[in-house]
Subunit: 349 residues, 2 copies
Amino acid sequence: MNNVSGRRATIIDVAKQAGVSKSTVARVLGGSTRISEDARDRVLKAVKDTGYEPNQMAAGTRSGRSGLLAIVIPDVTNPFWAEVARGAQDRAVREDISLLIFSSDWDADKEATHLRSLRRARVDGAIINPVADNFGDLSRFGLPFVLIGSSAERFPDTASVGSDIAQAVRLGMDVLATNGHRTPALLLGPRSRLARARFLRAVHEHCVERDIDPAVLAMEESDYTVSGGHEAMSRLLGRKGRKHLAVFAANDLIALGAMMAVREAGLSCPEDVSILGFDGIPAGAFSWPGLTTIEKPGRQIGIRAVESLLDEIAGRAEHGRIFLPCRLVERGSIADLSAQAPARVAVGG
Amino acid sequence: MNNVSGRRATIIDVAKQAGVSKSTVARVLGGSTRISEDARDRVLKAVKDTGYEPNQMAAGTRSGRSGLLAIVIPDVTNPFWAEVARGAQDRAVREDISLLIFSSDWDADKEATHLRSLRRARVDGAIINPVADNFGDLSRFGLPFVLIGSSAERFPDTASVGSDIAQAVRLGMDVLATNGHRTPALLLGPRSRLARARFLRAVHEHCVERDIDPAVLAMEESDYTVSGGHEAMSRLLGRKGRKHLAVFAANDLIALGAMMAVREAGLSCPEDVSILGFDGIPAGAFSWPGLTTIEKPGRQIGIRAVESLLDEIAGRAEHGRIFLPCRLVERGSIADLSAQAPARVAVGG
DNA sequence: GTCTACTGTGGTAACGTTCCCACAATGGAG
DNA sequence: CTCCATTGTGGGAACGTTACCACAGTAGAC
């Protein structure tokens, strides 16, 4: 691991040991140009003997490449984002690249701090889910980057990877309709968030296609949290004139909160209320009933983001905007009212 | 952000602009020695004007410090480990240090790959949850490091941070006893894992203290997964001669799997079966009933690990072994049989 | 036999910092 | 007035690589 003097071995130590110049060692390790078999063998042996590990920092000063990528997400502790980070990390190691993971907590100051850190570390590129929809420094960011998440929408000229919300919403509305819930109530996120508008627009588009008046859909809004969903659902249940109620939640946490509210109101899911979530977080598998939901391809998003970023760095950029399809996960929180009692289908408003 | 020529500003650009030497700029930014107010002002202005961001790689080549730390955990996607990583990250940013997060998937090869990457990146230190209990290269690791998780036990001479399993088990056994379940069945992890032995030993110690014959406790073992818990619980339910059954699961996933098995057997929790989990994963809050569990201080473990590592790096190491206390989270998966029917308390075996 | 192309190699200048030594200016003690 | 310590500053070596140029040796073409 170390050479005799206790220092870490450098390329020069290897060169001496192998009886060649450091240029030759670099070439063997770099692998691009032709090397005599004899030299290669001697170098490889010397590398092993000395326990030489290339110093990426030193290499970086000269080459300008740090071998580091960064990803800035809201929170690694959030299962969806953890999945994204994990995908990105796995893809990066395949290229012998290490990944710095930053959590911004939807906080512009923290984001700024992280952006500064990543710049100082001279990362080769960054994958960013901007907290503010007006991610200002974008054009003068001065670093290859790829956007992930809903804010990508605002920047059609930059590379981005996200999930196909329109397809997801279509999937959700269709499974609800198939089960006899043509006009579900909507549990939306807060007005300030771009994701909300995107979700809502997709619903509207789908309604138009299916000849449903969007105005007929009941709506409640809340934070993207369990307690938010709980409150929103309580408000919804407070309205009168319903038999079976079906809700499409903009996020799984809202859906789980809604499920709790239903139970506390003395009703049960899916008998009295059908609930459809959105995200595909693992916790949805453990609720009772299991949460039927639309799963976003978090891992894939991470993987594709890295690939896109690699393209961007290499200059073979097409500034592509990638939208990955979502998947329906049926677990039992939706009642099938299509056959037995089509007349009891909930109507909105 | 860039200077006129389009290059990134260097310390020399700043020095020129401020009319001082690069040494002076370095001193202003480093902040250690005394500087004339005049010089400081000019430098700070020049830094702002040029948009200078120090090049950490270049600094690292000379100083030997990369400003990078690494953490190797089994999986960021696992809520507990995500929490640990998050704590570590938050603590690291406070020191202006960036954190590389690696997931080893309990795979020795992946771990080796990550260890090589982190060495090449010349991280200043590493926080490691070794996959193998015989983490071999430990002594000749040649890098400051801190161990986290149960394997720390095997290496009493190295710094480590973990949760206080003995205290946690005491907490769990006591809450069970208080509710009338003095001799719960144990749902353990696989024999190969060190964590299992630690858990079991703590239970035994506690039993001795409380005058309970440990042999009386029923035991089942499985993977640390939902399906594992499901199977183990099914086997347990298959045994005869029980009234109310109480189980202490070695992990929340096992507990959630057990809860599912109970429901599928036509029984209900907590009426027929009391379940106590261990970990404190968020999903436990969404099950029905909510899972009563012992919460490990994941975030704190991450924080303390970084602090310990920082000590290690600075040489003010005490090679401390830190065990953080766990916390009981009561949610309703344990029936209180202490008052109404003490005779119905489950007996093991 | 000379020229040319190619192959493998060595030497050296960057890269952008930090670290260390030198030194001028200042001021107080003797 | 001389000496010495202190304060602020500058200059250059060093860190371990990569990039680039130079060049020796070989072989084929004419």
